[in-house]
């Protein structure tokens, strides 16, 4: 790494009283602005990621970590566990449902809001945002009341569907759908606001031209707005995919008041189980690294295929 730093090209210098060129300062300033973000990113994502990598090779059988003593045995333990395939199948099913449903509904709602702009839309945007203000675990507890046919405001609908008690609603086969519903209410408000903002930033001329050409609202949405905000959709895809792989609070808490939620259900719960039930933080780290890998690979693939982060040519 030291080699890399020494390779920084030296620009022609105009000496200031501090001995640093003015140009050097100018190059430095953007990093100063970036610094808070870089620090946060390091301490809360890259740092823990590297720490996970470190302890994934540590042995915890004696209660305290012995670094590099485990070799790859933690990976064998984690990936060979009988629940490993099952939890990834569970979360895979959840992704198959939650990602398209989430993106589709967010697109639909934001488009509807944008078609009918004005006070109603502003109020509705706020309403969509409210569930997102409730933190994950609290939202799950709220959801339990919604899913319980004896307390739910939707009890009419639930009993019409043949659900008598919470034990009928919260069963393994419905779980991916229930988590999708909880996740949608938790996260959609933010994305609706972002998409709405994206429509607002679209060129007025283009929209006017479309209207003059006889484009109706639906055609405008489908042929103009959606293609133009495609980078935002891809961005949502990456973040929702990475976020949903890490599902934890929902399966951990949904079963507290009844119903049947197998534990561990999601990969994160398997990691939790390794760490806090078996005391094997190394295997837990191995599980969490695979989730990191999924997020990184998905992000890389989406970025490569869609070229959304390429600088716009002016």
């Amino acid at each position: 790494m030291a080699v890399q730093t020494s390779e920084i090209e030296a620009p022609p210098r105009t000496q200031t009283h501090l001995g640093v060129s003015a140009k050097g300062w100018r190059r430095f300033i953007p990093y100063l602005f970036l610094l808070p973000y870089l620090l946060a990113m390091f301490f809360f994502s890259i740092g823990p990621g590297l720490y996970a990598l470190l302890i994934s090779f540590a042995d915890f059988s004696q209660g305290v970590p012995r670094y590099f003593a485990a070799g790859i045995s933690n990976y064998i333990t984690a990936y060979g566990d009988f629940r490993f395939v099952e939890v990834f199948r569970n979360v895979g099913l959840f992704l198959l449902i939650s990602v398209p449903v989430g993106i589709g509904l967010v697109l639909l709602l934001s488009l509807l809001l944008h078609i009918r702009r004005g006070r109603t839309a502003a109020v509705l945007r706020t309403i969509y945002f409210i569930p997102g203000a409730v933190t994950g675990p609290a939202l799950v507890l709220l959801a339990i009341f919604m899913f319980d046919p004896t307390t739910s405001p939707f009890r009419g609908l639930l009993s019409a569907l043949g659900y008598q008690s919470i034990n009928d609603v919260i069963v393994p086969s419905t779980l991916p759908w229930l988590f999708t519903i909880v996740g949608f209410f938790a996260g959609s408000g933010v994305w609706i606001a972002i998409f709405y903002g994206a429509y607002e930033s679209l060129s007025v001329e283009v929209m006017e031209a479309a209207t003059i050409d006889g484009c109706n609202a639906w055609q405008q949405a489908w042929h103009i707005k959606i293609p133009l905000i495609r980078p935002y959709i891809m961005y949502m895809l990456i973040l929702v995919l990475a976020g949903n792989v890490q599902l934890f609070a929902e399966p951990q808490l949904l079963g507290v008041a009844g119903g049947n939620v197998p534990n561990p259900w999601a990969p994160n719960q398997l990691g939790y189980y390794f760490a806090f039930r078996l005391g094997n933080f190394g295997a837990a780290a191995a599980v969490s690294l695979i989730m990191l890998l999924i997020g990184v690979v998905a992000a890389y693939a989406v970025v490569q295929w869609t070229s959304i982060f390429k600088p716009e040519s002016s």
């Binding site: 730093t5 390779e7 920084i8 915890f60 004696q62 209660g63 012995r66 004896t150 034990n167 039930r277």
Partner: protein, 440 residues
Amino acid sequence: MKQVWKLFSLLAGLVLLINACVPSAAPAADSAGETTAGAGTPITVWIDTTRQAAVDAYKKANPDKAALIQEVLVERGEFPAKVLLFNNTNSGWPDVVFAEPSLVGQVSDTAHNFPLDLKDLVAQEVIEGFGNSLAPCWFEGKLFCLRNDVAQNVLYYNAKLMEEFGYTVPTTWEEYQELSDQVAQDHPGYIMGAFGDQWNWATYFWGSGCPMNEVLGETQVRINPNDSRCERAAMLVDHMIGNGTMAKLDPFDPAFVQIAADNKLLMIIDASWFGEYVFGGKEDSTYYKTAEGQLGIAAPLKWRDDPAPMTATHGGAAWTVSRHTANPDLAVEFALFVTTADDYQSTGPTFPGYLPVADKWAKTIQGNALYANDPYPVFKDAVQYISPLDKQPRYDWGATTVKFLKEANQNGTTQLAALQLIAEELQKVAEAQGYEVVTE
């Protein structure tokens, strides 16, 4: 690209810096257990809100040491996890913890390595005073906890309904099943049991001596669903679910509470604390809002061919002492006080694990007009029948059991069939936790 490398090298530098700060692998805390910082060192005691009274009683009886006891309210389910984190940082352990013996079992393996062996620190006659209740506290000849209370199951029945219907209280599981057929025929809608959670499962399967999760040693467990004692319990449950006298609900499910409130609960087998805390007889009680001598208590049931009854438990906690404590004398003295001294246990909320105090404790329940007969002799008698299965393995047998139990309830398949699925998964769970599984 160069920018990226610059950033990366900066981060790599930071990582090295942080790793330098990570404590190098310290020897597994053996040394800490030996340190005796002396009699003046304060101790930390982990309790729940109910056990505040125990700490208060100690402080009242020992005003000179009151300042040395620092109690902390914790969610004790997190106890094993927190021990692991303390092991990682090699500091921070509590000195005395209030927890179920099953949790004590979890913190006694080599990774947790938490409890102090109390065998030589507690007088022999005191140990004997705990009787059968101490069984789950013993780990390969080491005494890792002192029992706070026992939650032996007994048979609760509605005495008024039984009299009205002209039924006799069953004494065997066979009579219980026969009565269920009678009830199903004469008084459909009346309920004689709950089968919705892991403790309901224990009620019938531990009560039958079914060798599922039978602890044979610290690393050996028996899981044999094909044992006739498992099958007879499963068939009893399936029979009663079939005739409608067994609710497929746990006893705290709002729908089950409604059954009790509607006075449709004829009987239920559950723990000794159910009388005071679930049936209650007070306005804010879960099952019975009035105390009118309606609750009868009968001894645990026995299988006709068995020599003696066997009963499950539903809770019942203990006090464990940390091997890392800097003041073991005070920690042990405190644990002994809260389990054996009259000051606390004779007025405590639950049936004392230490039997010599139990007789004095009896008065706390005998005044309740809820009971049709004196519950105390029944409770005391039942302690000796607690199933050896009460000593639970370190793995989470409940999560697996309840998953398939509920699946069978939901799909209408039998618990007998579920037993095989439970055993199949439990075997893997046990092996993942380092157990050798015996299936015969």
